[in-house]
Symmetry: C2
Subunit: 323 residues, 2 copies
Amino acid sequence: MEANGEQYAANFSSIKEAQKRISLYIHKTPVLSSETLNAMSGRSLFFKCECFQKGGASNAVLSLDEDQAIKGVVTHSSGNHAAALSLAAKLRGIPAYIVIPKNAPKCKVENVVRYGGQVIWSEATMHSRESVASKVLEETGAVLVHPYNDGRIISGQGTISLEFLEQVPLLDTIIVPISGGGLISGVALAAKSIKPAIRILAAEPIGANDAAQSKAAGRIITLLETNTVADGLRAFLGDLTWPIVRDLVDDVITVEDKEIIEAMKLCYEILKVAVEPSGAIGLAAVLSDGFRKNPAWQDSKKIGIVLSGGNVDLGVLWDSFRK
Amino acid sequence: MEANGEQYAANFSSIKEAQKRISLYIHKTPVLSSETLNAMSGRSLFFKCECFQKGGASNAVLSLDEDQAIKGVVTHSSGNHAAALSLAAKLRGIPAYIVIPKNAPKCKVENVVRYGGQVIWSEATMHSRESVASKVLEETGAVLVHPYNDGRIISGQGTISLEFLEQVPLLDTIIVPISGGGLISGVALAAKSIKPAIRILAAEPIGANDAAQSKAAGRIITLLETNTVADGLRAFLGDLTWPIVRDLVDDVITVEDKEIIEAMKLCYEILKVAVEPSGAIGLAAVLSDGFRKNPAWQDSKKIGIVLSGGNVDLGVLWDSFRK
């Protein structure tokens, strides 16, 4: 797809190729709905449970040719991407080197180990993470797979829209969490290729609102610091995701942390889906006053919400049970 | 279906009728799987997410004729049945009177209110619950719908097997939580009608093992007290469920509370499904030494696990987030 004469890092045909490539390796995720949440929001909501998806990096790993693949893959993300990359590498039978800062939450490290990734520790700073990753690249000859600023990742994420619009063709709007922009770029490219009038909205925490600021400024804005409970949404747009977000994302809805927690609670109690705060932000957005009272979105009636991730740290809950 | 010359409270044709009756009112629930859990258990596991089901009492409510229905329905269960009955009654436009003991967990009361049930308080004793329910029956002329000892409920639950075996025809075993026996009676009746050689196993907490004791004794055994974290599994078999459990449930696997909590943790962290302890007991059973090392179950290779309920009280988790 092109817009403004610009070629993006992914397009409808790379997304359809990704779907063929990964179809044997991914789960088809269900779409849930709830009359209670429909009544609360005043819209018809359809929740695409990507939090059940374990194969989020399959396209990137399966795209590698044999000579590259055999040396393995590297990343210095410690979130869902790290677990997904570990699993995809395991399925292909190649090593995954995951650089993780020493202060990462235990559940994220456990997920990487569970899916067969090799944990390589770094200090907490981005500088240390990057330099450790560079050293691993040098020593192993492995390929760096960035969590979002990568055409293969964007194409893989785009397959969500192919599946979602097949399951619920009548969607007029899709709301997607935004962090580095990989997920929403893929979703937007595929959805607007199938249904050009569909509205794509990003949901972002106020404490990490670089996408909202970037859209307003017309260029990539990064923040000196971020402050949000949604720790999966603290990354900034990259040079490959920004042009897609700029052109194809209709707007960014920002929400407060307390709205995210309230939405997360509704996901557990009503949908019975165990999401992390980042994953619940789409529901927070659709329930926010900023969205509900905005005349511009009154005609968003049938709204798809992507529930992403699931790395919630449940230590506190288990501890309370074990007492 | 008959066995031992006995007619049960439900049968394959009442279950197929229930399916026709409720098809517009229920969600088709997804089946999830996980390579990690397959590796841990040494079997292929298929999780039927009935915890996403909101329509668990639809058949009972839709079966009522108009004259009966208009006066409403009553129950003195405060668990998932109360919420399901409230919702089914709301959809039919009739009142649901839910007798709830004053010490019931807040989340259960909230669920009833959310689905439109009228809460009527009783003391915590079974005597008080029953006498308050009797008074409501007398004053309103409403119909008592028992949470499990009711052919309409058993038939409705049986539709789970119709759906499950359509989604995963190769199942050789289904493991179902057992409490009063309504869920497993329906599942067993339907599954053995479709696939007579299928194995049906009950999963029960050691601290509420009336079903295991009843099977061993050949008659209904009730307990003076129960002690388990799985508060949805504390009911005893009834006169309508016992004959079905006696004849069609192949065995009862008992598990300890700490195994239930561990399985619940795996449901959250790996499946990303928010179940209550009762709902996770099937996974606890399949991971227990008692099951894994028992030669009798070695040929259970493709195991369906019914994940039921979802009324977990998440207060503690939210409080920790709000600090």
